[in-house]
């Protein structure tokens, strides 16, 4: 069997960083990253982007050397993606924050409100309900991160954890401050408004969870395959008929429910910002699906049926 020689150059400076001889033709890009890591300990595989062309797309870890358009002396280019952090770590941190922060406001821990209110509880039952819903939402997210989601990427850039936590924690504190405030005003239409809102919230939470399960079942454990998601026997997944990313649709719905339940402008604002971000992601995902699959159902919109 003929062995390959692999040289790795810096994509920007073209400097020779590493020369690997006697590489198996069946070696994967992932294995080559491991070998590169041995000579450059600071660049662990997750932060390596290896390409055929300095300005080209990153090769996948699963790509096999002999299937690449290279000769037996292969020249590969390296770009440092910067310090990386695992998706699981980021998700756990960004979701644990709102859970705990909200509770601090709910229990009126000192130094938030006037001292005479320390450790008191709200007299409005909707405030207790809101705390349960908010906490349930983030506990659900934490459990999904640990047991449901199958991530295609292992890591993301380290700076994302600061951006993401600032967003989630900041908004959680801002919302929680007003909902749990001693001068909080309950919804204008009282019990009716709260009940309707609760139904919307729960419906969408179940919907969102159903979609997460359906997406998980699309992908066998440990694999990174991509398939078109379809409705299953669960009626909550029938939204797949009309929308590419029903998980985002349901998520927006949950927060709309929470907004109506609390009648709190900061919550409305958080819902709006989340909707904008999820629409951007949904449009990207929708475009990816259309590019990858010829037979993609034409009736589907990215996030809102027939609209967006």
């Amino acid at each position: 069997m003929k062995h390959y020689e692999v040289e790795i150059l810096d994509a920007k400076t073209k400097e020779k960083l590493c020369f690997l001889d006697k590489v198996e033709p069946t070696a994967t890009v992932g294995e080559i990253k491991g070998m590169f890591h041995k000579s450059h300990a600071q660049w662990y595989p997750a932060r390596q982007s290896i390409r055929l062309d300095p300005k080209g797309k990153s090769l996948k870890d699963e790509d096999i050397l002999q299937n690449l358009p290279v000769g037996t002396t292969a020249t590969l280019y390296f770009r440092d993606l910067g310090a990386q952090i695992s998706w699981v770590t980021v998700f756990l941190t960004e979701y644990a924050g709102p859970l705990l922060i909200y509770l601090m406001f709910y229990f009126r821990v000192p130094f938030i409100y006037s001292p005479k209110y320390d450790f008191t509880t709200s007299k409005h039952w909707v405030v207790h309900l809101a705390c349960m819903c908010h906490s349930f939402h983030y506990v659900k997210r934490l459990l999904e991160t640990l047991f449901v989601h199958r991530f295609s990427h292992g890591t993301m850039p380290l700076r994302n954890i600061f951006k993401n936590c600032a967003y989630y924690w900041g908004f959680a504190a801002w919302m929680a401050y007003y909902i749990n405030h001693p001068l909080y005003t309950p919804p204008a239409y009282g019990e009716e408004q709260i009940k309707v809102a609760l139904v919307i919230f729960l419906f969408c939470q179940i919907g969102n969870f159903s979609i997460h399960i359906a997406l998980r079942n699309l992908r066998p454990p440990g694999s990174k395959t991509r398939k078109i998601p379809y409705p299953t026997k669960n009626p909550f997944t029938w939204l797949f008929l009309l929308v590419s990313c029903p998980n985002y649709t349901y998520e927006v719905g949950s927060w709309v429910g929470f907004t109506v339940m609390t009648q709190c402008l900061p919550v409305a604002f958080f819902t709006l910002v989340g909707f904008i971000q999820m629409t951007i992601w949904a449009k990207g995902k929708h475009r990816s699906y259309l590019k990858e699959f010829r037979d993609y159902p034409p009736l589907r919109s990215p996030i809102l049926p027939f609209m967006l």
Partner: protein, 241 residues
């Protein structure tokens, strides 16, 4: 933000591609820049005349405020130009710069009448006027492909003094406005209310002042980089994410 799936493709900004815009866009931009140059020149003349006739800066702001509001507000079009692509500058950079001007004009000097005669107001007005006349005439000549070197020089050198001085004028003005805002409680919303939100304009202004700390250096460094590129032909290797 943690993104949905990303296929790993890298987009490199190609800075060497020759960019062309439609004749219609060219005509509009030329008109726009000539009009803005003229507008800020009118402001400059009005300010000089006022000062020479009255011998004081008191009442100067009031005399030019309509013209200032008109031309400064018109500048929001520049954000649109970037968004549509007929001007090749970052929408965010332009957005931040225009927003800070709009904020100063409408939410500080226009709304808080008691600070209109502060010296710091005159300071930033002078800075803005000189900066804008230079900038808009630069764009005009650039579009007509007849850029005199001295305008290019002015555009990429005067900012080194004008930018920090302007920022100083703006910050001093906001600082002077603080006690008035706190006392009057203007533009503020208190609890309880049916939307369960509150807003304190006084603390908001303090946050605005603090935000100059991260924002101003970035904008200034952006201008310095532009200066090195344009005047000294330096090539910058873009840092892609």
């Amino acid at each position: 933000m943690a993104s949905g799936e990303d296929d790993g493709s890298v987009e490199e900004k190609d800075n060497h591609k020759k960019r062309t815009i439609s004749p219609f866009a060219l005509a509009w931009l030329t008109f726009y820049n000539i009009a803005m140059t003229a507008g800020w020149m009118v402001l400059a003349v009005a300010m000089i005349r006022f000062y020479f006739e009255k011998g004081t800066h008191k009442g100067l702001y009031k005399s030019i405020s309509k013209t200032l509001k008109f031309f400064q507000t018109f500048a929001v079009l520049e954000i649109l130009h970037c968004a549509v692509g007929i001007v090749h500058t970052s929408v965010i950079v332009t957005g931040v710069q225009v927003s800070s001007r709009i904020f100063m004009v409408w939410f500080v000097t226009n709304s808080i009448k008691q600070i209109q005669n502060e010296e710091s107001v005159l300071l930033f007005l002078v800075v803005w006027t000189v900066t804008e006349i230079t900038r808009y005439s630069f764009y005009t000549f650039n579009l007509l492909n007849h850029l005199p070197y001295f305008i290019k020089w002015a555009r990429y050198n005067l900012f080194i003094i004008l930018y920090p001085v302007g920022v100083a004028g703006e910050l001093m003005t906001i600082y002077a406005a603080l006690p008035i805002v706190q006392k009057s409680g203007m533009l503020s919303v208190r609890l309880p209310n049916k939307y369960n939100v509150s807003f304190d304009y006084y603390y908001f202004l303090i946050i605005v002042m603090i935000s100059y700390i991260p924002l101003f250096p970035q904008l200034f460094l952006h201008m310095l980089r532009q200066r090195r590129k344009v005047l000294h032909g330096e090539v910058f290797v873009e840092k892609d994410d």
